[in-house]
């Protein structure tokens, strides 16, 4: 099993309230698949991705990724884990503003021993000509493409995408989805994409549906549609 989640609980203390962000989640994920975590705002998607990404910790339960039990890792080991296995894509791109496009890509290329060629990756996302620009000189869609290149260049086994299209218009959103689909196919990268947009779920191999922190659906999508055909 590539990713194994068992009885995962996570809650947050806000003032005197305790919010259960994830309640007893259990599931197994396979390598190389495209997963969509679907759910309305506040359902626990980000929390799940953060725990998988080693940025946040579970309260109880097990999360084993590629043989590593995340709860047993200290913060240094988690850093190494992120650096070796993961790519991140966020809703607000989170490029480093003082670095150029190419440098942003190099910033993760630096972390991996067997990464991909930055030029090739930037060409795939169509940003090679813009490699010397700073993030503020780019549109949102362009920035997200750079973020994708940054995640892909180190050839991670998993890419976690948290609302990657949330801040983009329809056209740009589709282009981003297409890229993610291509990457999944071309490099066999496991992609876990969190979104509240049900239309996107149609392109996944498997849907993980959350509601108020509970796993309400974990089902194969018998006929994933290509990204080009996703519409909303």
């Amino acid at each position: 099993m590539f990713i194994e989640i068992k009885n995962l609980w996570k809650s947050y203390q806000v003032g005197s309230f305790k919010i259960d962000a994830l309640k007893d989640i259990s599931m197994n994920l396979d390598k190389g698949k495209f997963y969509v975590v679907l759910g309305p705002s506040g359902s626990g998607k980000t929390t799940l991705l953060n725990i998988l990404g080693g940025i946040d910790r579970a309260d109880s339960g097990k999360v084993i990724v590629d043989g590593e039990d995340l709860s047993s890792l200290d913060s240094m080991a988690l850093t190494i884990y992120r650096r070796k296995k993961l790519g991140f894509i966020f809703q607000f791109y989170n490029l480093v503003s003082s670095l150029t496009v190419l440098e942003n890509v190099l910033s993760t290329k630096y972390l991996s021993e067997d990464g991909l060629d930055p030029k090739e990756v930037l060409e795939v996302v169509g940003m090679w000509e813009h490699r010397d620009k700073f993030p503020f000189e780019l549109s949102g869609g362009e920035q997200q493409r750079v973020a994708i290149a940054r995640a892909v260049v180190k050839n991670p086994s998993i890419i976690l995408c948290d609302e990657p299209t949330g801040a983009l218009d329809f056209e740009n959103a589709k282009r981003v989805l297409k890229l993610l689909e291509d990457i999944n196919k071309k490099y066999g990268t496991t992609i876990i994409l969190a979104t509240h947009n049900t239309a996107i779920a149609k392109m996944s191999h498997k849907i993980i549906r959350l509601r108020s922190g509970e796993l309400v659906e974990f089902a194969d999508n018998p006929s994933p549609i290509p990204a080009e055909e996703v519409a909303w």
Partner: protein
């Protein structure tokens, strides 16, 4: 409502602001304590000199002079003074009679001595646990100590004219009435004439005295070590005090400018919103100008007040070192006022300049925000592309903010200057003791006779001759010695450590340094007694750093200065000799000298500690504030890098690594800066004084200073890394919640 902003932000960004406040504190403190000290010493010294009629010069003659005639002719006051050394055990009290016209004694405590009473100097009294009212027996007669005294011509109380340091345990001065003194005056009695007043034709005065009464010696005030050392020390303390406080202020104001500009840039959106809400520019400027005002008030008032409070003990401590009788305490309010207000002159304009950029921008521009624009093409720095990623980011980070690196460089350079000053002074002192007195001056005792001798009848000793000159056109005194050709007592060596074959004139390196003399140059000197001029070629320069001195062989010396062959005035000896007291003018034991140097090294140690603290503090604060600034403004990037899997160590070297270069550059700049300052002090403040020290930093001094400041650097780096560790990726994650 807006009023709350500055203090809140200062509290939030404590790391930046507390550092600047501490620097302002330091600047005000340093200014207050030094200027109050200087005012106290200066005023007391001037009052002392004036009210107690300090001499302008004194002289000795073979025959008694006619005081009244000379006074009338040259319109000066002249007074005769007798002196007599009372020796007991290894101690000496040099007694003078009480004078009334020139060099009047100042009673610091107690009363002027009546018949059967004496007054002594308080340092000797302290060191020997003598108190007012105690009785001491002097050659069978009991004397009561009536008080503590200070003499205007013996401010710096040294036994021999050229001793560099006082030795209050074994040498002190005292006064008694002439009637009492007469009982002790014998052939060794010493009488001289003290003169107050200006003589326009000094040469004819000397000539007249010489022809009528046979002038034996004459010493002007500004070549009198016992008077001039104090002024000299004051003069060299002054630039140090001002340089320290002004540089610290300058550094803190630049630091404030940087921090404030950064802050305002990061708050553009908020400021824009304030505009939108209807606040006008004036109100906004009035809000932000409170930053420098708060910093100033929080730093300068406590700093000035602390300096003011501590100035009293500090003055006491310093006075024991500089030996000025402080009779009256001054608490000059204007010094305090300046100490508190000067920082405002630095901080408020610097703060205003940081805010001014806001005023020039249109409201729309401000609202649009600024944080990310400004990465113009020049920041791409494509020339760095070939470097590995991490190093490239590190260099970019530095080049992006040259002003910060400049402050860091200046700050470190200045810290280097301060610490080197302390360390080098300390090394110089111990070099003198450990090296010069062990390896160059081999003799253990030195005796100077009353009259020239021709035959040396003491074993294990060597004769020498000496004469005092001044360098033509200056007041600098030079002593030239004639010693045996292959002397076993004085081993002169060149820079490489090879013994110098004595031939022609060999001068000390310290003399060469001071007057920029090279081998082959001519030294133009004037005999202090008879005014004869000599022009002597400098054959070699010896690696010797004590005093303005030169050496020749005894034969050549006597020949050059027209003295009888083989005559000599003193001997160097390995053993203590039993020479009748009435035959010698002075004795010197090397052990005593070394001991007094060691003692005084302790007071140097205290100064050194202050300098250690100051330089550490300065380097640490500047580096720390700037690192904290970098970390705060890059919080978001740091968060992203952390999520991507960067380790804290890597981030610290990427974001703070450039400081390594700036630190080293600052240190390297500090060395020539130090040399310049020392040259200045040596050449200006101590120009006319027979005083020299080897103040070139040795490799060890440099290494030590570096390691020490590096410690400050490491500490700030450690704290910086802790701040980096504390940055949580949550800054990024928060945005994802919505």
């Amino acid at each position: 409502m807006l009023k709350k902003i500055p203090l809140r932000i200062m509290w939030r960004d404590k790391a930046h602001f507390i550092g600047i406040i501490l620097l302002v504190f330091l600047a005000s403190f340093a200014y207050a304590i030094f200027s109050i000290l200087i005012t106290n010493i200066d005023t007391n010294y001037k009052n002392f000199v004036k009210n107690y009629n300090q001499e302008d010069f004194h002289f000795t003659t073979f025959f008694p002079i006619d005081i009244e005639t000379l006074e009338k002719k040259y319109n000066v006051s002249i007074e005769e003074k007798f002196t007599w050394d009372y020796e007991f055990g290894d101690k000496i009290i040099r007694f003078f009679n009480i004078t009334e016209k020139v060099n009047k004694p100042l009673i610091l405590e107690g009363k002027l001595p009546q018949i059967g009473e004496i007054a002594i100097d308080p340092n000797f009294a302290n060191s020997n646990r003598l108190e007012i009212g105690d009785e001491i027996e002097i050659l069978g007669k009991n004397f009561k100590i009536s008080g503590f005294v200070s003499l205007p011509d013996y401010i710096y109380i040294t036994r021999n004219e050229n001793d560099m340091l006082p030795d209050p345990l074994r040498f002190g001065i005292g006064i008694m009435n002439l009637e009492d003194m007469r009982n002790f005056l014998r052939s060794i009695a010493y009488r001289y004439y003290m003169v107050k007043g200006n003589i326009s034709d000094f040469d004819s005065f000397k000539a007249e005295v010489n022809s009528k009464y046979n002038l034996l010696s004459l010493q002007e005030k500004d070549e009198n070590f016992r008077i001039i050392v104090t002024e000299m020390k004051m003069e060299s303390a002054r630039p140090m005090a001002y340089v320290i406080s002004f540089t610290v202020m300058l550094i803190s104001s630049i630091l404030l400018f940087i921090v404030l500009r950064r802050l305002i840039n990061s708050m553009h959106a908020e400021i824009g919103t304030l505009y939108a809400l209807g606040y006008n520019k004036r109100e906004i400027v009035n809000t932000y100008i409170m930053f420098p005002i708060f910093i100033w008030l929080l730093g300068a008032i406590p700093g000035g007040a602390t300096g003011y409070i501590l100035s009293d003990p500090f003055t006491k401590f310093y006075v024991s070192f500089i030996s000025v009788p402080v009779v009256e305490k001054f608490f000059p309010l204007n010094d305090l006022f300046i100490a508190i207000f000067i920082p405002a002159l630095f901080m408020i304009p610097s703060g205003y300049m940081a805010i001014r950029s806001l005023l020039r921008r249109s409201v729309v521009e401000i609202i649009r925000g600024e944080s990310e624009k400004g990465f113009k093409s020049k920041f791409r720095m494509k020339f760095l592309d070939r470097l590995p990623f991490k190093r490239r980011i590190m260099i970019k980070q530095g080049l992006l903010h040259p002003s910060r690196e400049i402050v860091l460089i200046i700050g470190v350079a200045f810290a280097t200057l301060i610490i080197m000053y302390g360390v080098v002074a300390k090394t110089a002192l111990s070099y003198l003791v450990e090296d010069t007195f062990q390896n160059i001056f081999k003799y253990n005792y030195l005796y100077i006779f009353n009259y020239y001798e021709k035959e040396n009848k003491y074993p294990n000793s060597e004769p020498f001759n000496m004469l005092s000159f001044y360098i033509k056109g200056t007041k600098a005194k030079v002593v030239i010695y004639g010693i045996e050709k292959n002397s076993k007592m004085i081993i002169l060596k060149d820079k490489k450590g090879n013994r110098i074959e004595l031939e022609g004139l060999v001068i000390a390196q310290s003399l060469a340094d001071k007057f920029n003399l090279k081998e082959g140059d001519y030294l133009n000197i004037v005999n202090k007694i008879d005014g004869r001029e000599y022009n002597i070629k400098v054959k070699k320069i010896a690696d010797l750093y004590v005093g303005n001195s030169g050496y020749m062989t005894l034969d050549e010396f006597n020949n050059t200065f027209n003295m009888e062959k083989n005559s000599f005035i003193g001997i160097y000896s390995m053993n203590k000799l039993d020479i009748p007291k009435e035959n010698i003018v002075s004795t010197l034991s090397k052990e005593d000298i070394i001991k007094s140097f060691r003692d005084s090294a302790q007071s140097v140690d205290q100064m050194l500690q202050v300098m250690y603290m100051l330089s550490f503090f300065l380097a640490f604060i500047i580096i720390y504030v700037l690192s904290a600034l970098v970390i705060t403004e890059n919080r978001k990037s740091l968060g992203i890098f952390k999520i991507l899997g960067y380790k804290d160590k890597e981030l610290s070297s990427m974001f703070l690594g450039f400081n390594n270069f700036s630190f080293i550059l600052g240190f390297l700049l500090g060395i020539p800066l130090f040399n310049t300052l020392i040259t200045y002090i040596m050449n200006q403040a101590l120009k006319d004084v027979d005083f020299s020290f080897k103040l070139q930093p040795t490799i060890r001094d440099i290494l030590f200073s570096f390691s020490y400041l590096f410690l400050a650097f490491l500490l700030s780096r450690y704290l910086g890394r802790r701040r980096i560790r504390a940055v949580s990726p949550n800054i990024i994650l928060k945005e994802q919640w919505e």
